[in-house]
Subunit: 135 residues, 2 copies
DNA sequence: CTATTTGCAAACCCTTTGCAAAAAT
DNA sequence: ATTTTTGCAAAGGGTTTGCAAATAG
């Protein structure tokens, strides 16, 4: 289990209960939509506002702790991004599956960096498939 | 120059002047936003409606001829996708640079397909960089 | 002639913003 | 004590929709 207070402190962010809840909820669900997150967080914080969740997600995004994934269904999904990985997105239902990065991938990233001539902050691979286990 | 009418016919889409204009505009600009497209198209079609442009982009997206790219600035950008390639997205200004796919990439896609156990419809690589030539 | 597409305006939905009160450090 | 964060409600912005008229095949 992650020490959320420590994590936030290291980013110079105040460790409010709401913010900790957002982090917890992100850790507890895989690629949640905002509604899924909101619902989850409200179990702990019935009075939290949707705006607060959005604000915190943006703050965490700025710190690079969270990434937004735009799905083919138009719904944004959120992901904690401690470890780089590949997103396999279903074109049909918007479901997302993670795939760990392997050595081949790291090498590939280096290739791209060389070509671009600039260091890459984050590399995101979206593999779109026509259907998934849930559709 | 592409034969747009032929292209559309092969997709069972009616070749309206508006639709052809959308294709032309997509070919003429790199990764335009909807506004850039709209402005361009209106040079030829002053009376075209924004809704028509959106509808056509969605239709072309369904055919796989166009991809949407979600930029860090929140503005969606559009791209003709005849040939797979990599998008290098600037986290700062949302500018996008193309990078051609090479053999290493194709091999990488095959690796992913094998792991996912499903054939990949489209693979999109977003490499995020901190700044670009224009910022 | 039939099916699709257009254009308009309104509706929609998700996300952001402004501001005063509350809370964290 | 200072700065950040919260919550509310309202505003914002981009995208979609419904429908009648126009157009493509």
């Amino acid at each position: 289990m992650t020490d959320y207070i420590q994590l936030l402190k290291s980013c110079n962010l105040k460790a409010t209960p709401q913010r900790i809840s957002v982090l917890k909820a992100l850790d507890g669900q895989t690629h949640p939509t905002i509604d899924e997150l909101f619902e989850q967080i409200r179990l702990e914080h019935p009075a939290i506002s949707l705006a607060t969740v959005y604000k915190n997600l943006n703050t965490l995004k700025d710190e690079g702790l969270v990434v937004e994934i735009n799905t083919p269904t138009g719904k944004m999904r959120y992901d904690v991004f401690y470890m780089p990985h590949i997103h396999v997105v279903c074109a049909n239902c918007g479901n997302i599956e993670d795939m760990p990065c392997d050595i081949a991938f790291d090498k590939y990233q280096k290739d791209i960096e060389e070509k671009v001539g600039r260091s890459i902050k984050r590399i995101e691979v979206l593999a779109t498939v026509d259907s998934c286990s849930c559709c």
